[in-house]
């Protein structure tokens, strides 16, 4: 009896030590993940000179909001925000429609030629025609320099189609379809009446996936948009953050380097301003996307 008790306490002592190790590891990982974000946030409200001298390392030094004032005064950021918002909303709706238009029929066992159709979609995941032909088609369709180029070219993901299809297959039993068919409910009606309501979780996941994608994309804009007024946010970010200032020494009246210091200081604020919407949004959708990732990864 005493022996058992002794063993128990010794085990719990070991467990306690292990608890500490685990706690340390947990805290450490959280810190590593969080630190860069906290630093950027702190730097964005610090005095640029303090950052330049490396005095800021965790909390803001010389608190001021000048950088944000600069950012909000910047027309580019405003334009970019507006455009990106538009592209994200419309783009998400359109891609979701297309995704479900493929996913639902593919989830139905009775669909004749299901495998062939699946291969039709899958093939595009691994083989593409390349940039020039795609560009030509975009131009021929008259989509060049319109938001539809940004929204449509290469944005619908076959992976997401598979995720949605698998979800429907797993959550909607065949009996339900049979019952619906008995009631004289057609396949399209079934979708809107039964399948879509039951697929709300996966819809939420895909909205998030597509939304994030549109919010963060810049490449389509770079290729298909020529009008600066319709540039998405990420293109302006690229200019500001990655300092790809044109090497414009060729013919110039003179430049001013005070601009450079300003642009240095607003970089942090720009990061915060551009990333906040997504960072605020995702925790609310967390319980959904955990499910979505699961389905996509394992059952794909």
């Amino acid at each position: 009896m005493t022996a058992v008790k002794k063993r128990r306490t010794s085990i719990s002592a070991g467990d306690r030590a292990f608890d500490v190790v685990l706690a340390v590891l947990t805290i450490l990982s959280v810190l590593v993940i969080l630190y860069p974000l906290v630093f950027v946030a702190s730097a964005s409200v610090s005095d640029p000179m303090e950052i330049f001298q490396g005095n800021v390392w965790l909390w803001p030094k010389g608190f001021n909001l000048d950088a944000y004032k600069q950012v909000f005064r910047n027309d580019d950021i405003f334009t970019g925000y507006k455009n990106t918002l538009l592209y994200t909303v419309v783009g998400t709706v359109v891609t979701i429609v297309i995704t479900f238009s493929a996913a639902y029929p593919l989830s139905r066992k009775k669909l004749y030629g299901r495998n062939k159709l699946m291969s039709f979609f899958l093939f595009t995941m691994f083989f593409s025609g390349g940039m020039i032909p795609t560009y030509l088609i975009v131009r021929q369709l008259g989509l060049y320099n319109t938001m539809w180029a940004v929204i449509l070219v290469g944005t619908v993901s076959v992976y997401n189609i598979i995720v949605a299809r698998t979800f429907m297959q797993n959550t909607i039993p065949e009996e339900l379809y049979e019952a619906a068919a008995m009631d004289g409910c057609g396949d399209i009606r079934v979708f809107f009446r039964v399948v879509l309501p039951l697929s709300a979780p996966i819809l939420a996941v895909l909205v998030l996936f597509y939304g994030v994608n549109f919010w963060n994309s810049y490449f389509n804009g770079l290729i298909y948009l020529s009008d600066r007024a319709s540039y998405p946010l990420q293109l302006f970010l690229r200019e500001i953050l990655l300092n790809n200032m044109a090497d414009s020494m060729i013919d110039t009246a003179g430049i001013d380097i005070s601009q450079y210091m300003v642009s240095e200081s607003i970089k942090y604020a720009v990061i915060i301003v551009s990333s906040v919407p997504m960072l605020v949004l995702y925790p609310f959708l967390q319980k959904f996307f955990v499910k979505g990732v699961m389905i996509g990864a394992v059952k794909g």
Binding site: R7, I11, F18, L22, L25, T26, S29, V30, I33, L34, P36, L37, V40, I51, G54, T99, S101, A102, Y104, P105, R108, K110, Y112, S119, L122, T124, F127, S128, G129, G130, M131, I132, P133, T134, I137, L152, V156, I161, G186, D187, I188, F191, N216, S217, Y218, L237, R238, L241, L242, N243, K267, I271, S274, M278, Q286, V290, M294, A297, V298, K299
Partner: protein, 335 residues
Amino acid sequence: MVKMLNGAVGFFKKQKDPKPIMSREEKRAVNALKRRRIRTKLNQSKGLYVFLIPAILYFLVFCYLPMYGVQIAFKYYSPIEGIWGSQWTGMKNLNRFFDSYYFWRLIRNTVGLSLYNLIVSFPFPILLALIFNEVQSPKMKKVVQTISYAPHFISVVVLVGILNLFFNQGNGLINVLLAKMGFEKFGFLTSAAAFPSMYVWSGVWQNAGWNSIIYIAALASIDPQLHEAAQIDGASRLQRILHINLPGILPTAIIMFILDIGQVMNMGFEKVFLMQNAQNTETSQVISTFVYEAGLINSDYGFSTAIGLFNNVINIILLLVVNKLAKKISGTSLF
């Protein structure tokens, strides 16, 4: 009836090689049956086909239509003649690629970077999942997980921007710290030697939390009775992690690993492109960035397309192999 028909069709199929002795009428009858069967099947899912129209249209226009352009990999592309009219040059573009001095470098960089990325970034989500799973309070657990997902929602542009801010040689945080500790400043952003690590570890930071989702879910599905039984047997927590949790998520891990291998040649473009500069091209020039440079900057379209095609083909082969492997090992596969 249908079953019988099936049997009939199957019978004729089997007999295909030694040509079945069949009169013309019989043949016609069988074919008609076949057609009717297909027609009824099509009819049954008419609604579904209508439903498919937007998706099919989309993929036809934006994915399949452009595929005709692949032919310029074997042509000298002239914009005036267009894709169809341009002159054939056979394997010239591909040979030029194979013979060039950067061929092996591109392969080395692409595969090397992918493999490095795979090996380093693979275990972290598992570790995170195992650690986070041990957090006792459900509330804390959720908070910790939520935090770990955050970097995933940052754009590539911003990620590379943060890297530049942290690691630049002049006044980047890391270099300022190094200098304060008495070390020499180091050009992380410009060093060819440092590029792969910068790329991979920033990826770990961004995605480890996100990728741990699947393992956390797998852990949640482990039978709690196993743990209870082990506890009664006096197993420590570490032992339970090692002997119950780890084996519990192993199948998932294996599948993930195999699927990742399939992507080895499918190096993402944007992040490498944004991190590239003249000094680190030795390690940062990968196939996708090279295709971009050859095509869009040097307007060498045939050449660029040829390299892209080469990469596509390797991708497909790799994928088929990996898919087969996955099927064999775990019974799950992509298609």
